[in-house]
Assembly symmetry: C2
Homo-oligomer: 340 residues x 2
DNA sequence: ATGAAAGCGCTAACAG
DNA sequence: CTGTTAGCGCTTTCAT
């Protein structure tokens, strides 16, 4: 560790007191210009590096935030994580990454450990709706922002960043109808998740407004894991009146569906259109390139981090958390070649 | 923050001294059984939570490690990151994620910040070969492990986890030759990277041992970004004697190549086999599913973390770093449907 | 077996 | 404008 010069060393070297060095370095209080120069020199000469631990212990702030995701391997998270980190870094914050698999025990253990480390706040991309141990964080005074997964009741009570899932699914379904599709299936996601409920509602509403009948047989419900959509797709295509479009509630589902369709010898989009949701990077690389609803993941990560930092600074100043805000991000319909 | 009980509070409550509480909690020194129980009770009652900052300041250890990757969006990193984190967590360590884009300034800034935070060690998945500011870390006494990117000269001097790239590419090329392919092209990666040089060498050696001529026209060299392989593939297929197989030095390149082939109206693998390298999760989902050399990314992350922890513990005990070890991981040829 | 006290490195009153 | 001093919460000799 070679270098362990501390304020005292610098002070001696510069021939001033410790507190003068501290002041000179933090630039808060005024310090004689000449003195400041001597201090700067001493800093160079001693190869001084501040000790963040000591500072944090004193200040009760670590400039570190905790980012919880279910699993970084899930394609939607890397860009979010990147957005959070880039933004945090620009403000001098460091981010601790926590994969939880949405396992409550893991989440709780992480939260406990993060408190122990005096982390400044949490960005949580997990938690079906409101897991109480997550939401409790805010009551305990911790800055907290929820990304994408939340419940209706949480709006206004917590900082949230999300898209308008109802609206996005509504627009997507209308688009499919506009292209002449009449039997539009929905690959529904895990129904406990509020965001999938919303997308389902959007789908239903769009069907209605497009004058299309709702057909329960056309809503493919995930069994265990998204691979189940392989068989669900085959089953659907075996219907007397098979779908002529499938709206997948996430891109990975769309990939599985395209696979099933391909194995069935069906052409996309001639025989059936496939529309995804998310626009993960791979969406443009599959064959045919997948039309999809793009969520601005990277931007969402940035906004989440900024939202958290805002809370942190506000709390620093006022000792209390600011009012919650709901950041609703815009989605984008990206038409590629899996729809016509 | 509600709860800020500290050792003193617990001590008072239990009617013992601070040091006794500390001892009782750390279980190092012996403490009267009865006393220990009283302390435990007091801990419950006061809702005590240790302050990791204070402990770290005292101990010079933070139980936190720094994980540097070029970009988490790159498909190979999420599983590595996950492996590192899972392993670290099991040992009570926390991981700070740093995306650097391999930008030297960013790397340096991060390193500086991490030192400031008294991080216990670094896992670096970046740095073309030996970036001196990274390698210097070990000389400064920091536990360090390099994942996948290193130079020949680094072996034995640093902890490294990697695969045998020469061997993997050799085997892959031989496999292609065994399936009857005679014009095997290589989609070469950025040539400054040692691992791509190795794969190139393996390719050449396999050609030779398979009695196939080396043809410079068949080595596709990346121009700027992997998208350049779209045109490179078209060019190659326009050759008088076009390739009947393309060995891509990474899966993403293979995806681009498959795309180009598809647009050319060529069939995979009937007209040309495509073999990838990495086995990113998407490899099995494209059409046709991609045959590829699987790197055990998750396991590599686990091994990297374990390697780092080993260094950290060793250093704790002996005050010095242990001898460097090179962890060479096994790759796996996964035959799917893009080769025959 | 337990307590007292020093000190990790830093910031922020408080004095001057 | 600068120095002195008191902690932040914890571990660890050194006594007892």
């Amino acid at each position: 560790m070679s270098n362990t010069a501390n304020l005292k060393d610098v002070a001696e070297r510069a021939g001033v007191s410790i507190s003068t060095v501290s002041r000179a370095l933090n630039g808060k209080s005024y310090v004689n210009e000449e003195t400041r120069r001597r201090v700067q020199e001493a800093v160079q000469e001693t190869n001084y590096r501040p000790n963040a631990l000591a500072k944090s212990l004193k200040m009760g702030r670590t400039n570190t935030i905790c980012l919880m995701v279910p699993a970084i391997e899930n394609l939607m998270f890397p860009p979010i994580v990147r957005g959070v980190e880039d933004t945090a870094r620009k403000s001098g914050f460091t981010v601790v990454l926590c994969n939880t698999d949405e396992d409550e025990a893991v989440e709780k253990a992480y939260i406990e450990k993060m408190k122990t480390h005096w982390i400044d706040g949490f960005v949580v991309c997990s938690a079906y709706g409101s897991a109480s141990h997550i939401l409790a964080l805010r009551d305990e005074g911790f800055p907290l922002v929820l990304v994408n997964r939340y419940q209706e009741a949480d709006v206004g009570r917590f900082d949230i960043v999300s898209v308008d899932n109802f609206r996005a699914a509504y627009d997507a379904t209308c688009y499919l109808a506009r292209t002449g599709r009449r039997r539009i299936a929905l690959a529904h996601g895990r129904e406990e998740l509020y965001l999938y409920q919303e997308r389902y509602r959007g789908y239903c509403a769009a069907l209605k407004d497009s004058g299309l009948p709702y057909d329960e047989e056309l809503v493919l419900r995930e069994l265990d894991g998204i691979d189940s959509f392989y068989q669900l797709t085959r089953d659907a295509m075996a219907l007397p009146q098979p779908p002529d479009a499938i709206f997948a509630s996430s891109d990975p589902k769309a990939f599985v569906i395209m696979h099933a369709l391909h194995d069935l010898g069906l052409r996309i989009p001639q025989d059936v259109s496939v529309l995804g949701f998310d626009n993960v990077p791979m969406a443009s690389m599959v064959e045919p390139p997948l039309s999809t609803i793009a969520q601005p993941f990277y931007a969402m990560g940035c906004v989440a981090a900024r939202s958290l930092l805002r809370q942190i600074f506000y709390k620093d100043k006022n000792g209390t958390l600011p009012a919650a805000v709901h950041n609703v991000m815009e989605v984008d319909l990206i038409v590629r070649r899996s729809t016509k």
